[in-house]
Subunit: 268 residues, 2 copies
Amino acid sequence: MRKIILIAFITLIGCNKSIGHGNIQKEKQIFVCPPCGESYDSITYEKEGICPYCDMKLIPKTSLGTKKNANKKDLTICFYLQDNVELLDFAGPMEVFTAAGFKVFTVSKTKDRITSQGVLTIIPEYSIQDAPKSDVMVFFGGSHSTPTNDPAVISWIKSRKKNTDYFISVCTGAFIMGKAGILDNLTATTFHSQIEALQKALPTTKVLPNVRFVDNGNVITTAGISAGIDGALHFVAKIKGEEFAKKIAKIIEYDKWIPEQGLIVNKK
Amino acid sequence: MRKIILIAFITLIGCNKSIGHGNIQKEKQIFVCPPCGESYDSITYEKEGICPYCDMKLIPKTSLGTKKNANKKDLTICFYLQDNVELLDFAGPMEVFTAAGFKVFTVSKTKDRITSQGVLTIIPEYSIQDAPKSDVMVFFGGSHSTPTNDPAVISWIKSRKKNTDYFISVCTGAFIMGKAGILDNLTATTFHSQIEALQKALPTTKVLPNVRFVDNGNVITTAGISAGIDGALHFVAKIKGEEFAKKIAKIIEYDKWIPEQGLIVNKK
């Protein structure tokens, strides 16, 4: 499916390029499997057809050039996942960000197994001891009080402020970011039942209900659970343009995205 | 967050019960931590307050009785996850079904680690060798051709037909179900770019574009990726009623759910 998304994406962004291609040019094309990080990504084929390794439709190598340009602003994004993290809180943004070409990795306090919804067993890629730096850090709800009340985790977040360009929270992930001082004197939102609790926890933050996301420029918070999808699409629009984000929304069939349901305090 | 959902849910479904409760009755109440499968779920408290084990707000034990009634149709749901499974394909329904109180478990061909989006490392709970029976089986996109072309997996699915009440697919999971003969002579949908391919693969199936889900009674297929959320909410409505499903949609802040965007061929 990841490849289907890539094909759909390349088709969408590459359609203008294709118009006017004659047969002669087509005969000279080289075809490749849509890239997915496997060794066979680099194998080239002289004809259209099916990848013998993964059964996906080969695409013209030239179309990857188009994709490369579209991805010139690719960012690295650190997903902090605590045990009992809410599944859709992080899965929505992870789907959107990977579809948009961002490089996502997962971090937890340790590399021990964690569970989500009491059902899904996950192995974090990094611990807070060895996580590489990233352009973006994202925090989620689901037993948020564990990292919020863990001095080691909060200290680790604070230590990364200087080298992180954007901070994003989904749902009650706002409590974690807030504890690290990232929401001080800003406007924010969170899960609908926790608006008052967040306001109480963060007296200098203006906490708003009834908004899908709030963008302060470098710090974005979203409402609960599925609202993370909206916030992630907004972030993609911010980095790569709204037309690009709309294409991602179309690919993941989230036609329901309404950018205006968010509040932009600072466009930065 | 799972507990927040439970609290929000119990508040929602329990609000009518609470009206008219006097102080005398309140003084006699016993309080518990909202259940999450931990040993401290069974500890009772004489006063309102915070759970000393997980910091969540205690709830009246009587409200669990209300929840129990609402969950009288709880089902077991088997999520078949292949390597490279599309994240939001399964995460949306898993969020919805666990919030609705269904018992979800994960199965893959083996218990080896799998990845989703090339980013998330998952350990399946069961293999096809030891997976327990379930009321419902669900299949997803993302390298769907691997299980579709694996005789052992298809044979395993076929062997479970007799004891499974409902089959659901999200996105190109329809190819897997189709290969097992579950979509024969039915109406179905799939990821928007794969409509023609599915029709070609399943000549006796009527494959429709531009519909969020298709319900044949015991067999439901949904469109791509985020449409799995809509299909899952429809299934919850089917089992527990539309009002209940709307409450789940409200809790996960998926106010965008429009039940009429699906096609019900057979209400069964």
